[in-house]
Symmetry: C2
Subunit: 205 residues, 2 copies
Amino acid sequence: MNFSSKLLEDAVNEFSKLPGVGQKTALRLVLHLLNKEQEEVNQFGNTFIKLKQQIKHCSTCHNISDYAVCEICTSPKRDKETICVVEDTRDVMAIENTGQYFGVYHVLGGLISPMDGIGPSDLFIDGLIVRMAAGGIKEVILALSPNMEGDTTLFYLYKRLKEFNVPVTTIARGIAFGGELEYTDEITLGRSIVTRVPYETAMMK
Amino acid sequence: MNFSSKLLEDAVNEFSKLPGVGQKTALRLVLHLLNKEQEEVNQFGNTFIKLKQQIKHCSTCHNISDYAVCEICTSPKRDKETICVVEDTRDVMAIENTGQYFGVYHVLGGLISPMDGIGPSDLFIDGLIVRMAAGGIKEVILALSPNMEGDTTLFYLYKRLKEFNVPVTTIARGIAFGGELEYTDEITLGRSIVTRVPYETAMMK
């Protein structure tokens, strides 16, 4: 692209670095910002700088937080004996939105992925082991995405957690609500037959 | 969405204000930024603030520029006797990318749109009239998008430019390169027959 201005080009390039944003989209976003008042643009830019400067990770569960320990870990309403292990903050938000989980979390900060050079030591697994070793945990739920990296991490965690003699569960895999049986892949469908559940359990709210 | 952090929520809201960016996309972009170094995030934020503070509009053609007069208007290689009138900077870039135009531009900064409350006085039309009145212009090319607002603006400009007795042309409308004749709408196809051009002209590079 030929830009009439170096400043414009710099701004477009900054947006283009974001995932899923191409040059044309970036240009549209920059021109949108240019139509705003200086004050609004300042706020736009400074919000991200402030976020990066001030954001913390909960010292217990490693979730993103404004405080040293996050609101879920400090809440007296949450069941501290159940830990749900997830990949990142987005998964915490997704599970919180269901309104079906009342325990606490542990955020790994990623999944084991040898292809991307991410090993167990790059994740916050040691913190989980420390929490387990401290005792008082009655169940660990592994809520990881059902893909290659998720399954590798699942297997690794399962082996590490065995020594604590605490039940380790994983979220159910099967056909999504609203899904069509005939279009479901064989692995999912086959597994959903093997791991079938009593009607009363499945229909429970 | 339930955010675990106010800072995170603020950042997501800033991205969500941009056109075509929803909350889920915004969250993905914010988490991507959070994984960067503080310095990179500072650069990201400050680029837009600096852009808004320092950007200029060319005093001649009103295109976005780093200088008081843009590089196209000052270039000795450009034909100053031909003015191409466009809606905004994106159109200048699009035409420049074709490598087929060597005149100068005039950027209107929008199109007449009574529905959105944008009248002729909101656009940089007076500057165009001043340039015409100064003399030495041999052709005005109106390169506006072929939609309701574009056609309204075209009609208005044509009436205003009449008094200068300079040829006023518009970019050709017709079937786009690679388009299928049978799927082309009736208005476009009908017009493309009425405004047919000699084979030699059409095939000229």
